[in-house]
């Protein structure tokens, strides 16, 4: 029997069950910093820095202080100059490290691509067996070409199987060593270039343009090359740029004010900080660099690259950063029931006999009819008969097994003169009637009860006699309810999509804890639901794999296509999950949110840092003019020069210190907005105010020992 095979088979084992709390990330190896150094130095080219206005200003400032240090050398001038350059290098280092992590992966991918040879077919028509083939390089393949691939060969490009069936090793892409089946027609026809055919022979129609293959896109993605800035990143850049301009003005306009103050009040003798011409250039540049949001400016692009990288590590390819950000904003999550919310297969959970039949008799008949049924449902009946009713498996001979077909919608066995059938209610009752039997009055009640409990009723009959009903139950995966509760706290509504009837759907929805369900769903219903939600301003995410999912995938704001799915589905979605795990959607949402939170947190931290820097630098510059301003030196820093230097050094070091955080993302636990804001304000806002006071004081204690500084 196989009432459930209309649903998609499970492609991969699911990831660890249970509630995963944290979105983790890779660790940062200190060696990586060292390896990335040459790349970081290369990025000093102003043309490269152009995309990062905050750091460009720091570089211009560094050049300026270098000139000043050469024309008027002093220990102070040179130490400041070195640390200003280090600030730029550290920022480049953050980006280089983030990019470097993807490079190794890209190299492996590229290797797989290079030496592939394609056996191109000149003419291919369905059913044609005459294969007139020429050998060309994989890179020369065009859209619509046909190639043949035999066992042991590498598939030369992305395409669709048009003939044959084969097992394919996709580990080069997915990292999963178990081979998968690819066959023509249906939803498992897509193959990816760079993967290896293990058995049989297939003909593939190429569906990619040269240089735009999956592997090409993946390489671009993991390398972070030509990374497009995401909408929120652009908005943040605008805010950072305007803050930079404000501080630029605050520092630039300080000079005439300082000259006036110096002229009126006098200030002692010329020194490294102040002279008759006002504040020295080195100190002005130092003040500027300390005030402009260098911390977030330095780490912004690393955060973006690392966010994509975290997705890649989870075997998800996002076609754009925009999609990742949209994932964080999702309001509605559409989840297919089978394989996502429930295990792929239903299992027998109860035998319910009709009036006048004993449970034992029903269990016996059910077991007997299922002994040769190799579908998961069939096996679960045998298992249940054994565990709940003590019926052992038995050997039977001379039995005729009746397989399930779409026409009969029944399966069963003819053995020892007994004729047993089990199957869909309508089919079995019809069969019993045709055998001259009658339908017991209580059958309808039992069937309805099973349905309304979310189960699938399988009626068991012996010739003209109905024995009872097997309750096949959808088994909700472990930990799903907790996940949906989390989603609700995050403000995301979950909607279960199923082909079941509304009553069954409602029962499962209730058990799994989803907010809503769409029963007897057709692809059109799905599309209509997405449009309806979007009309109300909501962002919708969904997964899909079939060609008929493609319109809905394209319409959804976040459409995750399964790698096992059709080329049409993969083309329509804006992400591809290489593991083909529909629950991955939940993790994608979390990564999207974490990406935004990391940016917001470091922006807050960066701005909050400025308070302490003012308390270090303002008294350092002007206490000589207005001695009362020394009251502001609450850190009691050693001397004006050491105070300014400490602020500059702290400003540079904090970038390196935060690289791991930028790459890993800030800690994220799914919770409501107020909780998240309170926590992040406390850690990055308040922390951002206090940390530099401590840091600058400590650095001052160290460097005041250097001769020539204090």
């Amino acid at each position: 029997m196989s009432t459930a095979t209309t649903e998609r088979p499970q492609a991969q084992p699911n990831p660890p069950e249970g509630v995963k709390k944290k979105v983790g990330g890779g660790l940062l190896d200190p060696k990586q910093l060292w390896i990335s150094l040459p790349d970081a130095l290369k990025k000093l080219d102003p043309r490269t820095l152009w995309h990062n206005p905050v750091m460009l200003i720091v570089e211009i400032g560094s050049v300026f202080t270098t000139v000043l240090a050469i024309t008027d050398p002093s220990v102070f001038a040179w130490v400041i100059t070195v640390w200003l350059w280090l600030t730029v290098v550290f920022a480049n280092l953050a980006e280089a490290v983030a990019e470097g992590r993807g490079k190794a992966q890209a190299d492996t991918l590229r290797k797989a691509k290079q030496d592939t040879v394609a056996r191109k077919l000149a003419h291919w028509k369905p059913g044609a067996n005459v294969l007139d083939e020429t050998t060309v390089g994989a890179t020369e393949l065009k859209l619509g070409d046909f190639v043949v691939v035999d066992a042991g060969e590498v598939i030369p490009g992305d395409g669709e199987v048009v003939q044959g069936i084969a097992s394919v090793d996709e580990s080069a892409i997915t990292g999963e060593s178990a081979p998968v089946i690819r066959e023509s027609g249906g939803d498992r026809s897509a193959v990816t270039g760079g993967t290896r055919v293990l058995s049989d022979r297939i003909v593939v129609r190429i569906t990619q343009k040269p240089g735009e293959s999956f592997v090409d896109r993946m390489i671009a993605l993991v390398e972070g090359a030509n990374r497009q800035k995401t909408p929120n990143e652009i908005a943040l850049n605008i805010l950072l740029a305007s803050l930079t301009i404000i501080f630029l003005m605050a520092v630039a306009t300080l000079q005439p004010m300082a000259i006036f103050a110096v002229g009126e009040q006098g200030f002692g003798t010329d020194d490294a900080v102040l002279n008759a011409n006002g504040v020295t250039g080195i100190v002005l540049v130092s003040l500027l660099v300390c005030l402009i949001p260098t911390t977030i400016g330095a780490l912004l692009s690393a955060i973006g690259i690392a966010g994509m990288d975290r997705l890649v590590q989870r075997n998800v390819l996002a076609m754009s950063g925009r999609a990742v950000e949209a994932a964080g904003d999702v309001n509605v999550l559409l989840l297919d029931k089978t394989g996502t919310i429930t295990l792929g297969n239903r299992q027998a959970s109860e035998f319910v006999p009709v009036h006048g039949v004993s449970v034992a008799e029903l269990a016996d008949a059910a077991q007997l009819s299922s002994l040769a049924d190799e579908t998961p449902e069939g096996r679960s009946i045998v298992v249940h008969a054994k565990s709940a009713h003590g019926l052992r498996e038995r050997e039977i001979h001379d039995a005729t097994w009746i397989e399930f077909t779409a026409q009969t919608r029944m399966s069963g066995v003819d053995v020892d003169g007994r004729v047993l059938r089990k199957g869909a209610t309508s089919s079995v009752t019809e069969w019993v009637r045709s055998n001259g039997g009658r339908i017991p009055d209580d059958l309808k009640g039992i069937v309805d009860e099973v349905s309304s409990a979310g189960g699938t009723p399988l009626v068991v009959a012996e010739e003209s006699r109905i024995l009872g009903v097997i309750h096949l139950k959808d088994v909700v995966k472990n930990g799903m309810r907790e996940r949906f509760d989390e989603m609700r706290r995050m403000g995301i509504r979950t909607v279960m999509i199923t082909g079941d009837n509304p009553r069954t759907a409602e029962a499962i929805a209730k058990e799994a804890g989803v907010d809503d369900f769409l029963a007897e769903a057709t692809p059109e219903d799905k599309l209509a639901l997405i449009r309806r939600e979007q009309e109300g301003g909501k962002l919708v995410a969904m997964t899909g794999d079939g060609t008929n999912d493609a319109p809905a995938l394209a319409q959804a704001d976040v459409g995750v296509a399964m790698n096992t799915g059709t080329a049409a589905a993969k083309e329509a979605g804006n992400m591809v999950d290489l593991d083909s795990d529909p629950t991955k959607l939940i993790e994608i949402v979390e990564i999207g949110k974490q990406l935004l939170i990391t940016r917001g947190a470091l922006t807050t931290f960066s701005i909050a840092n400025d308070i302490a820097k003012y308390f270090a630098i303002i008294p350092a510059i002007f206490a000589a003019v207005y001695p009362g301003l020394d009251t502001l030196n609450i850190m009691r820093l050693d001397s004006p020069t050491s105070a300014i230097l400490s602020a500059v050094v702290f400003n540079a070091i904090v970038i390196v210190a935060l690289i791991p955080l930028a790459l890993r993302g800030v800690q994220y636990r799914p919770s409501d907005a107020a909780t998240l804001l309170r926590r992040n304000l406390l850690v990055y806002g308040l922390g951002g105010i206090i940390t530099p006071f401590v840091g600058i004081k400590l650095i001052d204690l160290l460097i005041s020992a250097i001769p020539g500084i204090s």
């Binding site: 501080f247 000259i259 006036f260 706290r489 974490q594 701005i607 003012y614």
Partner: protein, 553 residues
């Protein structure tokens, strides 16, 4: 009753009464902003100026209407003053110089009312009434209209229409400003303020000397000067003059009038966006800042620390004895927290930190509660910035009142944030680098610098109060401060309307548990924090060389 108790009762009674009128006044304004009916007088006005009151405007047209109306007003006012000598009721005063006419015209149209002239020795009654007082009405109404357009941007969806500027302007003048100002003027007359058309009378005093008692339509101008947060006094000493602010209780009424509309605007805003809680959040943020400022200013001036007259016991120098030190401090805080700029005491004579606080109040952008309309739109712009940073920290594309804050919105908010500080800092720096400009300073050192910093802060933020001590009626200051007032008023207005346009075009984002709740105390606290930190970081170096250096010496 000692003076401290009196000062506390003064402030507490203001807070209580303002809290009591918050809802009725806000609800009334809400009905004015959203009503669909036109009175006969209004319809007559629309017919005369040729406006279809039902035709709504997209943001660009709304902005052009604001700019065109203001440009015409400036030209009209300029010519009025240039031709004063040939007009009736001139009291024999000459026409004004081009620089002063330009400065004053811009000043009154920009709702600043910076006065580089002395009313009693410069302006005739006709210019005062038909020119300056008229601008007091319409310039206040322009601010409210722009603010209402921004709120419509939040409240409306998928439209380009932000209302009709001419309708908003007419209604605000006729239904809000005119009735309240009329009542207030009568109260002032009853209290002893002058309202006539006579020129000044020379009288002999009992002591045998002579005294000049000025006359004129002062009470009526006084009422709108405060209600419209304009601040331009009929006479040079402004609200310190006994014929415009005769008693301690008129002083209370003056402060009440200053705060009335700005305080009630958040209520109208809450009603318009369909959530009174949002209005309460905004007024809460405004109140926290305002009360802190009033408290600190009272404290600082009451102690009178670090001032020349400290030797005399308290900061009484420059204050009127009928008001006292504390009530004058409260007036000083109210006038700088709004864009009023009326004064009943000399800010230059405040304690160093007190003077610094009045500057800081203006540097905050006059948003607590700010000028009529301009206070609320300023606070909403900062709320947009706060929402952006806070929204990222909760892991969503930031949204405020159901509208996404993305790059276009941030662009307008950032430009708004940038405009005024740029004018203040660049203006001050140019003045300090200019030897001629430096000659206008009466004091030297930090205090002299404060005078200049105050002037540019006041002009760029459209406050109009002066620190005193700076001779501002020079070619340089008239021109430079005129530019600051003009750009400080209309650049932000363009950015506000631009933001309004891009908000109105959006479709709404529904609220969920993941949405930042912008009416909770946490957000209010963060908004206050962002306002204070952003401003402090921008102006700290300048303040350090002025009031802070002076206060710590």
């Amino acid at each position: 009753m000692d003076s401290t108790t009196a000062g506390v009762i003064f402030v507490v009674s203001l807070v209580v009464v303002l809290a009591a009128v918050y809802r009725p006044a806000g609800d009334y304004m809400y009905r004015v902003f959203t009503g669909t009916k036109h009175s006969r007088a209004e319809r007559g006005i629309y017919k005369v100026i040729g406006v279809d009151p039902e035709a709504e405007q997209p943001w660009g047209v709304y902005a052009r209407s604001v700019l065109a109306f203001s440009a015409i007003s400036i030209v009209f006012l300029y010519l009025f003053m240039r031709l004063q000598g040939r007009l009736m009721l001139s009291l024999g005063f000459d026409s004004l110089t081009p620089e002063l006419s330009w400065n004053t015209a811009v000043s009154f149209v920009a709702n600043t009312n910076w006065q580089a002239y002395s009313g009693e020795s410069t302006m005739g009654h006709l210019v005062q009434m038909a020119g300056l007082a008229a601008q007091n009405f319409v310039s206040a109404a322009v601010g409210i209209a722009v603010c209402v357009a921004l709120v419509r941007g939040f409240a409306r969806n998928r439209t380009e229409h932000l209302g009709n500027f001419w309708v908003d302007l007419t209604r605000i003048c006729l239904r809000i400003l005119l009735p309240v100002a009329t009542v207030a003027a009568i109260v002032f007359i009853a209290a002893g303020a002058v309202q006539n058309f006579s020129s000044s009378d020379e009288i002999s005093t009992l002591a045998g000397g002579t005294q000049t008692i000025p006359g004129g339509p002062a009470a009526s101008q006084e009422a709108i000067k405060l209600l419209g947060t304009n601040g331009g006094g009929f006479w040079n000493v402004n609200s310190a003059h006994p014929l415009s602010n005769p008693t301690a209780w008129t002083n209370w009424i003056q402060i009440f009038l200053i705060l009335l509309i700005p305080v009630a605007m958040p209520r109208a805003f809450g009603r318009m966006v369909g959530s009174n809680k949002q209005g309460y959040a905004i007024i809460a943020a405004m109140s926290v800042i305002a009360l802190a400022s009033i408290f600190l200013l009272n404290l600082s001036n009451g102690l009178g620390a670090n001032t020349v007259p400290a030797a005399a016991g308290a900061g009484t120098e420059g204050t009127e004895t009928r008001f006292g030190v504390l009530n004058s401090a409260t007036f000083g805080a109210a006038t700088t927290l709004t864009s009023t700029g009326a004064v009943d005491s000399f800010h230059s004579s405040y304690s160093s930190f007190g003077g610094g606080l009045t500057m800081l109040n203006m540097m905050l952008g006059e948003i607590a509660p700010g000028g009529t309309g301009s206070g609320l739109y300023g606070m909403l712009m900062l709320a947009v910035i706060t929402v952006f940073v806070a929204g990222l920290m909760v892991g969503r594309t930031p949204e405020y009142l159901g509208k996404k804050i993305s790059s276009r919105e941030i662009k307008f908010a950032s430009l708004y944030l940038l405009a005024t500080p740029a004018l203040v800092l660049v203006g001050t720096a140019i003045a300090m680098a200019n030897p001629t400009a430096r000659e206008s300073m009466l004091s030297s050192g930090a205090h002299g610098f404060s005078e200049v910093l105050y002037a540019f802060t006041s002009a760029s933020n459209n406050n109009g109060s002066a620190f005193a001590g700076l001779s501002a009626n020079t070619g340089f200051y008239n021109t430079a401060l005129g530019i600051c007032m003009l750009l400080g008023r209309f650049l932000p207005i363009i950015f506000v309307l631009g933001l309004a346009g891009s908000l109105a075009a959006q479709k709404p984002t529904p609220e969920s548990a993941g949405t930042l709740k912008t009416y909770q105390p946490l957000f209010v606290g963060m908004l206050v924090g962002v306002v204070v930190i952003v401003v402090a970081l921008t102006f700290l170096p300048a303040l350090a060389l002025g009031p802070i250096a002076e206060g710590l010496s």
